[in-house]
Symmetry: C2
Subunit: 386 residues, 2 copies
């Protein structure tokens, strides 16, 4: 098995990008990534996308995007695991390179959501849940997350305002990210007064409907110096685990079994533990997911993720900075692309390129990309200069 | 890089399976594959599916199926490349095992098409084509293939009846396959008199709308003897190549560039040529695709694929037997699952288990799985006892 590293990253700003088609967004991110790496073209492309078959009547994105970028003849495919598509596509690229079958692989997460009507977006997002056991009964994706948050608040006796720091930190960090959708701080009052979407989830507990694309280039560590002038960021661990898609099938709704299992696998692969992680890009699609991810990854005991946030330990200068470029809430959440954005943000931190949001001495970082209400979780640990 | 082999296969019959849900079909195929291999559960599952997000309102099939089979905690994801999804999912599994990151991987191709209305199926299949350049203008998937067939007939001066042997051979072979959708021979007269779907494609040039699931278990060759009593079938080559999704972007509509490129890559990986291949499972979604695949893979010159068929060389006892268990036309074509069925059929041949359809001394075989009108092509070469 060959060691794998990241040598290029790219991203479009996230927003309501009505002027850009799906393939154009992907093109921009990929072109930036190959330019950043200093390579001409990859041998393989792994596209992460969830919603194009429904919202854009377009499947088959691997060939569509690769040929649009001018890469006829390379291999290309789409990898999908609902909102965890980005992480699984990156994992597929890492595997392809590690196996020796591919030298240079590109990953592109792309999603175009805002052209559709809100009803069709809601229905499309519900395909991340269980269509027979949940969707068919009218449970929207936010409603399912609301059940989890309600249960968390009940189980651990946590009032709603305790979740505010997740949203406030994410929005504060987004201010300095030129690619973020919302570059505006919010106050506790703004958070508390925001309209309820699905009780207890309010507007600021939720990530936005967004368009965007992010891309990465990976290669064998041993080839990095020849291929690129960039300092390689090494992939120390890549681990996925699944749980039931339907909430009713879970043993414990407020213990993300798949997140815990994938974090354990990742720590084992890397020979590291939570104490070694300097920065953690979480999947804060809803505030409660950030808390549960911190707990599952070993940064807080069960029910104590909110305490970590309350204590300021998730801020840039805290013990375990999360959502450092704005997270899903502030940066935006183009679902299929999100896992790649998380990784791009992490690489930015590990390269020391995060500007005002730089986590000091960030050498080792982790991402956790969550599909559905915790059914698929992909954990990656990356490091610089190891 | 570790050598990879197949130690288990499973499949449901193909047909209009209204009694079985998507997840139940997958369960049946996977359970058969793990039973065949003699293992308890895999470390990873790669699902191949194209249409579930549209036709069943269900994305996120990796976790859905893995948890339904009872495999909480393993990793799982979906791989999609339109009708080539099966081949790319198998490739992902092979890579995962070759890389050393996964020991035992399962692949499951599953598609449930017949519950939907024909209009929504036609629209869903069109997502394999280019939504902006083709679908938006009303071009159905069969219409695009009709353009290719028309061009082939014009370019090489081939009358329609020359394509009949593809359909007749496939249907003749399906008779002996208990899992095939159509177990009935057809005559030249039946073929010639069948209704036109999209001129010049007639009913018997086309593969059917089907439900079905097929599954495989792969592991490192070095572990095969410990894990399974089955004689391992070794993966000698696994290669994908892409071309533009839209026909208008192609350099030559009747030369499948992606098929030729992926075959070349595969021959190179295996150190073999067309002369070494004993059996070839082609992607005969439409008759012309079988001809083009034979040509692209080096079994016939341009425009001569039909001659090979006319001469009887594609029959079980011919020079290069194709569609040996009925192909897409006779066995059926549950699109996302088809690539896995092709591989399962090939393994059946290489194991010598093909009964009345057994290709004599089949030691090395090839599959070619085609996505869209030739935009993504995945070629695999497998061998027994090497």
């Amino acid at each position: 098995m060959r060691d794998v590293c990241v040598i290029g990253i790219g991203q479009t700003p996230i927003g309501e990008l009505w002027e850009d088609s799906l393939r154009d967004l992907a093109y921009r991110a990929l072109q930036q990534a190959v330019d950043d790496a200093g390579i001409e073209k990859p041998d393989a492309l792994f596209v992460a996308n969830m919603l194009a078959p429904r919202l854009s009547s377009q499947a088959h994105l691997g060939a569509l995007i690769a040929s649009h970028v001018g890469w006829r003849g390379i291999e290309a495919t789409t990898v999908e695991a609902a909102c965890a598509s980005g992480g699984t596509a990156f994992q597929a690229a890492v595997r392809a390179v590690a196996s020796g079958m591919v030298d240079v692989a590109a990953v592109c997460g792309v999603e175009k959501m805002t052209d559709a009507t809100s009803g069709s977006i809601t229905a499309a997002l519900a395909t991340a849940a269980d269509a027979d056991y949940e969707g068919a009964h009218g449970a929207s994706f936010v409603a399912l997350n609301a059940l989890i948050m309600q249960r968390y608040m009940h189980e651990y006796n946590v009032p709603h305002e305790c979740f505010a720091p997740f949203s406030m930190t994410a929005h504060a960090n987004a201010v300095n990210n030129p690619n973020a959708m919302f570059r505006k701080e919010i106050t506790l009052e703004t958070y508390m007064r925001s309209p309820v979407i699905a009780d207890p989830i309010n507007l600021f507990d939720s990530s936005p409907i967004s368009d965007g694309a992010a891309a990465m280039i990976v290669c064998p560590l041993e080839m990095a110096a020849d291929l690129s002038k960039n300092a390689p960021v090494k992939v120390l661990a890549s681990a996925t685990a699944i749980d039931t898609v339907d909430l009713a099938g879970r043993i414990n709704m407020v213990d993300l079994f798949a997140a815990r299992t994938s974090a354990q696998k990742a720590y084992e692969q890397a020979g590291l533990g939570p104490e070694d992680i300097h920065v953690f890009e979480v999947h804060d699609a809803f505030s409660v997911m950030a808390a549960l991810s911190l707990e599952a990854a070993g940064f807080a005991d069960a029910g104590k993720g909110v305490d970590l946030a309350q204590a300021g330990e998730i801020a840039i200068n805290g013990r375990i900075p999360i959502s450092t470029m704005g997270g899903l809430k502030g940066r935006g959440h183009p679902v299929g692309a999100t896992g790649v954005y998380e990784l791009v943000d992490l690489v930015t931190q590990l390269r020391g390129d995060a500007g005002a949001n730089q986590v000091r001495d960030a050498q080792i970082g982790m991402t956790q990309n969550i599909g559905g209400t915790g059914a698929t979780v992909v954990t990656h640990i990356l490091a610089r200069g190891i």
